[in-house]
Symmetry: C2
Subunit: 148 residues, 2 copies
């Protein structure tokens, strides 16, 4: 189990493999983001997207899935997240794409008020199978300190 003391600025990680299916893109968008360019190739052809593209929130969800899956083999004493900064949907995510994640630790800070926890920040980028960056964000994660 990795604790705050095991995280250092500059550490990099690369993980994940998520195959984006047309069925899942449409299912997510139908429920949560029913804009025409997420639901129909015909509608998307009239827009920047060109063809049906995943909701940006779906890309966030797929990314979280890769983070959780990675945590099974590299467990960390994380306690959830207060949020993210500078979330950017850089390029469309299309059915048939395969996504992966790269992270770079940007900051590690022990809590001033709580002696047993701290926070790290990670610059996270999602790439497609062509190594094109499709999304990036700066995540903030709560993590326990190593027990004495």
């Amino acid at each position: 189990m990795l604790y705050l003391e095991d995280i250092e600025v500059g550490q990099k990680a690369s993980f994940g493999r998520y195959e984006v299916t047309r069925e899942e893109v449409i299912a997510f968008a139908s429920k949560y983001d029913a804009q025409p360019f997420h639901l129909s190739d015909e509608a998307a052809a009239k827009t920047y997207f060109g063809r049906i593209a995943a909701s940006g929130w779906h890309t966030c969800a797929m990314t979280m899935s890769m983070i959780v899956e990675n945590g099974k083999t590299n467990p960390m004493a994380t306690m959830g997240s207060p949020g993210v900064d500078e979330l950017r949907w850089l390029r469309p995510v299309y059915p048939g794409d395969t996504l992966r994640v790269e992270t770079l630790i940007a900051d590690v800070t022990p809590s001033r008020s709580k002696p047993d926890i701290g926070t790290f920040k990670s610059d996270l980028t999602v790439f497609n199978q062509g190594d094109v960056a499709v999304m990036r964000m700066k995540t903030i994660v709560l993590i326990r300190r190593r027990p004495a």
Copy 2:
């Protein structure tokens, strides 16, 4: 249809009503954010959450659903979003909660390079049925200018 010219800094909106169900919280988390505190009351009882709580990404998705639903009665010539800033999960979202949205227009900027589009920024807050703010973010939205 509302265009860039119809959006002004300081405009407020209040909309949405999303009933958070236990079934949906578990379904979303099982697929995208399978951390124990999103899946089981027993596991959540050992954490800050206290009982099963929705994934923050699920709250984002539910919020997007309210935005899209609101757009049906108040259509805007929007073209998607390049991202969001300062996304913060302020308080847990629990099964049984009912969510709603408030927005405040913070910035309106015509594109320098493309004469037919522009961008607006909106400070968005999600409240639960107790009027407690559970999430906030600064959204960035692309929108068409009014046709001549």
